[in-house]
């Protein structure tokens, strides 16, 4: 699989169609792990790998590291279906245009984020939770595809995890999240990993007024986590990166998915599927009910 990927990358670089490929490479000290790499030399495409340990959503390099990547020239990016959803959302949010980018899509049966479960292959047991509901195992858009198309997961209930949460009473849910957020150490790793948290000055860093108190007061943690989730409502593509990088293991993607379900039910909208669709929370519609303004 990595071979097909390397051939595509070499050709793109040799023909000068792109000057840099954003992909995954093996970690030398621990070949079971991968890390993001930038390849600019056709002779180095051998470093690129694609396997179930390629967990990072590289779309984050198209926003936070935008100027660094851009400085190298036009980019190709290796992307799983969920990563492509993020790319689609970023195009929708005008962060770059589709023409600026070559997408090397990878057909994916799931990834394994938890290294302790990795035994050399992907199994039902070690597969990430997000992958159990995945409907984009073949990316929805790409210029080149690595591997054979994979049909979407036929999950019995796409929202099983969320429904379990919803079975709790509001009080229980509140307590549950309070407990979770209390552990937050405000490292902002979740923010750094998220392709959509591309604000150069996050609301968390704003003073005058300060929206979120600094320090790790439970109240401040609560404010941060709620604001993070709300800022991503209707935008988050449930790639799960925030949750993966959280050092204290807060189930952030569960909160993301709860909101995503709300948006799906109330607005009939899922993020990351259509770059032309109007984002539900940034759309003014004349026919919206205005009768309450008098």
């Amino acid at each position: 699989m990595s071979k097909g990927l390397q051939d595509i990358a070499r050709e793109l670089l040799e023909k000068g169609e792109v000057q840099v490929v954003v992909g995954w490479g093996a970690v030398k000290a621990d070949p079971d792990r991968t890390r993001p790499i930038l390849v600019t030399d056709p002779d180095e495409v051998g470093e690129l790998v694609w396997n179930p340990r390629c967990v990072n959503n590289l779309a984050v390099y198209l926003t936070k590291a935008k100027s660094d990547v851009q400085a190298l020239g036009k980019a190709a990016i290796v992307a799983k279906g969920c990563d492509v959803k993020a790319i689609t959302g970023l195009i929708q949010e005008m962060q770059f245009s589709r023409d600026d980018l070559v997408i090397i899509g990878v057909a994916c049966k799931g990834v394994v984020s938890d290294g302790s479960l990795w035994q050399g292959e992907l199994t039902e047991e070690n597969r990430d939770l997000k992958c159990r509901f995945c409907d984009v195992r073949t990316p929805r858009t790409y210029d080149h595809l690595v591997g054979e198309e994979v049909p979407p997961v036929d999950a019995e209930d796409d929202w099983k995890d969320v429904r379990e949460l919803e079975e709790k009473t509001p009080r229980e849910r509140w307590d549950y999240w309070q407990e979770q957020f209390e552990r937050c150490i405000r490292c902002y790793a979740c923010r750094q990993a998220c392709p959509f948290c591309y604000c150069t000055r996050c609301i968390a860093d704003k003073t005058l007024p300060r929206w979120i108190e600094s320090g790790q007061h439970p109240r401040a943690n609560l404010a941060w986590n709620i604001i993070r989730a709300m800022h991503l409502a209707g935008r988050c593509v449930e790639c799960g990166e925030c949750e993966r990088v959280c050092p204290v293991g807060i189930p952030l993607n569960l909160l993301n998915r709860e909101l995503a379900k709300e948006v799906a039910v109330e607005y009939g909208y899922r993020a990351g599927y259509d770059s032309e669709a109007p984002p539900p929370f940034a759309t003014y519609r004349e026919e919206d009910d205005q009768s309450f303004i008098r």
Partner: protein
């Protein structure tokens, strides 16, 4: 340290009865930064305002809080007073201790406690207020009037007579609107055309009016004082400058069987036509859908007979653009039909009245044509099925209107009056005939309206039956009318020769598209929304756009004309100055932190947000940011909420100010 003055108003007993104003002033004096505090019976009165001005001068105030009524009522008053004393007016704010305190509390303790809180909140805000300067925008002194019914005509004439240029846009081949179709008008029975046509002619010959008929609005851009409008002049296929209006083409056109829109299907017209003989302009159009030449490529009979050679089969639609400073929307109404409605429609038809398939059941507008001397029967009462003179006529009011079960809850307002008129006209024409009116209520508010109704009943012998008609059906050449007389509690059945339904007044079917093009709001029925139902009935929420006539709500002619003159006065008021002053409470973008997601641009209802390129000295693009157009921004604040990086602030309502208010409340 701030030097703020607090002025608590009693509003007579309006506030004073449920808020202890003296105590509020006393508590206000204790707030840090407040150096002056007093209460007075009427703060908005001259002596009240003088107190504010004196305090500003004597105590060197740098901020003012007036605790009184709603800023909607008196913010202008107090800001003007503050400005007169030499302080920037935007350093003054109001706390609403009337609507929010005295009017909603019964208990003086509660009312007073809340008033103290609201004053505290506003003092904290004012501490952060910045002086602002109103925005000045130039005005293009030309108006666009959309719709050439009586309302549009009146508005255009008034503006033009005020020595300003007007573009009058009408989508039909002629101006005139519904009024040109009416026979005689309540409550005076003037002949409708006789009073309307002089105005139509005046429009056509007015040097200040550019009349565009058979034309449609394509696009509106820009903002108050500076709109750019794009208009599609549809191809008439006749050269306006050459045609003499002789009408020979209409006589010769072999197509004869097109139901006339003007006569509501009661007569036929050719493919080349003017809607009615007094049309303005009196230049025909070729209806391309029905012209044999456009369908089959052969005919051109009209061209052959046209003496001056005015026919232009190759004419194409033309797009013209104008700069205008103000827009008057006067697109009028349409009439409900009892016909079956498409699936999914929120409005239902009348199966019980045969869905419009009973030939001698006509609607009110058709009756107007029947009663018109210029109509298909030259004003003689002849029913459609066999041309016989109907001896018994039933009129049914509230068809559609006030029928939640049909999907319309409102009263169409004009039907009571035109139905009396119809019954009266009928009785004047058929002396031995019987006229019955089925009604729910007789709503005859209006000058001489009730007298008009009494006249019909007492002098003309019109019979009123209170109740709804449950069924209409055809039997032996008659239309059987089954209904209830709820006053006598009996069922009635009338074998009528003809039935006239007073159908509900609806918004124009395309009103929502029109509203979206112009950027104004509409209600759930498609009528355009005024800015304030009482205090700003001709304005819309979009500055520079005004409403006239039945496009806002059902209206009769006097009301439509009055509103049109009101709209014209608003336009002339705008055009009296060279620059407009706009509230400076608009959004501004922090270009350093903006990340160009353009959520703000998407969400702005006024299209006020633009993309701006930031370039270095050599002209290379550094980044894209958002930019708010001062002229367009209405200060609604939606963008502020949508911006994830908090890069937009609303001047006068900055996040800091709002935080200060919330914090003051939380204390």
């Amino acid at each position: 340290m701030a030097r703020i003055g607090v002025f608590v108003c009693h509003c007579g007993k309006n506030i004073g009865a449920t808020v202890d104003c003296e105590r509020v002033a006393g508590e206000a004096a204790k707030i840090p930064g407040v150096v002056h505090s007093e209460n007075y019976l009427y703060m908005c009165s001259d002596p009240g305002q003088l107190k504010i001005k004196d305090a500003i001068r004597d105590k060197k105030l740098d901020g003012v809080v007036v605790a009184a009524c709603s800023p909607h009522m008196h913010e202008r008053t107090f800001r003007r007073a503050v400005a007169e004393a030499g302080l920037n007016p935007y350093l003054a704010e109001m706390s609403n201790v009337r609507e929010h305190c005295s009017w909603v509390h019964q208990d003086i303790e509660d009312g007073t406690a809340k008033a103290i809180d609201l004053v505290r909140v506003m003092v904290e805000k004012v501490k952060l207020n910045q002086p602002l300067t109103p925005i000045r925008v130039p005005v293009t002194k030309r108006a666009l009037v959309i719709g050439g019914g009586v309302a549009g005509i009146q508005a255009a004439l008034d503006i033009a007579n005020g020595e300003r240029d007007v573009i009058l846009l009408e989508r039909d081949p002629s101006i005139g609107g519904h009024m040109s179709q009416l026979s005689e008008t309540f409550p005076t029975l003037d002949c409708s055309q006789c009073i309307l046509t002089p105005k139509m002619v005046e429009v056509a010959s007015h040097p200040r009016i550019t009349l565009l008929t058979y034309s449609e609005l394509e696009e509106v851009d820009g903002y108050v004082g500076n709109f750019q409008v794009k208009i599609r002049k549809k191809a008439r296929s006749v050269d306006m400058d050459v045609c003499t209006g002789c009408g020979v083409c209409m006589e010769k056109c072999p197509v004869k069987k097109i139901p006339s829109e003007f006569n509501v299907g009661l007569s036929m017209r050719p493919a080349i036509y003017t809607p009615f003989p007094q049309a303005v302009p009196n230049v025909p159009v070729i209806d391309k859908e029905n012209c044999i030449y456009y369908i089959k490529g052969k005919c051109k009979v009209c061209e052959k007979f046209c003496g001056p050679g005015a026919i232009r089969f190759d004419q194409e639609d033309e797009i013209v653009t104008y700069d205008v400073g103000a827009i008057v929307v006067a697109t009028g109404y349409s009439l409900y039909s009892v016909g079956e409605k498409p699936p999914g429609s929120t409005i239902a038809g009348y199966g019980e009245y045969g869905y419009g398939n009973i030939p001698d059941v006509i609607d009110a507008l058709q009756f107007e044509r029947l009663a018109s001397a210029s109509g298909p029967t030259e004003g003689h009462m002849r029913r459609p099925s066999d041309g016989a003179e109907p001896k018994t006529v039933a009129f049914i009011q509230c068809v559609g209107s006030r029928c939640p079960e049909k999907g319309i809850t409102y009263c169409s307002k004009i039907c009571c009056m035109y139905t009396v008129k119809h019954a009266m006209l009928y009785k004047h024409k058929v002396h031995d005939g019987d006229a019955y009116i089925f009604y729910m209520d007789i709503r005859s508010g209006g000058k001489n309206y009730e007298e008009f109704v009494r006249r019909a009943i007492e002098e003309d012998g019109v019979v009123y039956l209170r109740g709804r008609v449950s069924r209409l059906y055809r039997k032996d050449g008659k239309v059987i009318v089954r209904g209830a007389d709820t006053l006598s509690g009996t069922q009635v059945e009338i074998a009528a020769d003809m039935v006239v339904t007073a159908n509900a007044t609806l918004a124009q079917p395309d009103s929502q598209d029109v509203a979206q093009k112009i950027g104004i709001a509409y209600d759930k029925y498609g009528f355009f929304s005024e800015k304030h139902p009482k205090l700003a009935p001709v304005e819309t929420n979009t500055a520079g756009v005004f409403l006239a006539g039945a496009c806002q709500a059902p209206k009769d002619i006097p009301e439509a004309v009055a509103q049109a003159s009101g709209a014209a006065a608003k336009v002339l008021e705008m055009f009296a100055v060279d620059e407009l002053e706009r509230e400076p409470t608009i959004a501004v973008v922090n270009e350093d932190t903006c990340v160009a997601c353009f959520f703000c641009k998407r969400i702005c209802p006024y299209s006020a947000v633009e993309e701006k390129e930031i370039k270095d000295r050599d002209g290379n693009l550094i980044k894209l940011v958002s930019h708010v157009n001062e002229g367009l921004c209405q200060g609604c604040g939606l963008c502020v909420v949508a911006c994830p990086s908090k890069s937009i602030e609303l001047l006068g309502f900055t996040d800091e100010q709002l935080f200060a208010e919330i914090n003051a409340l939380a204390e």
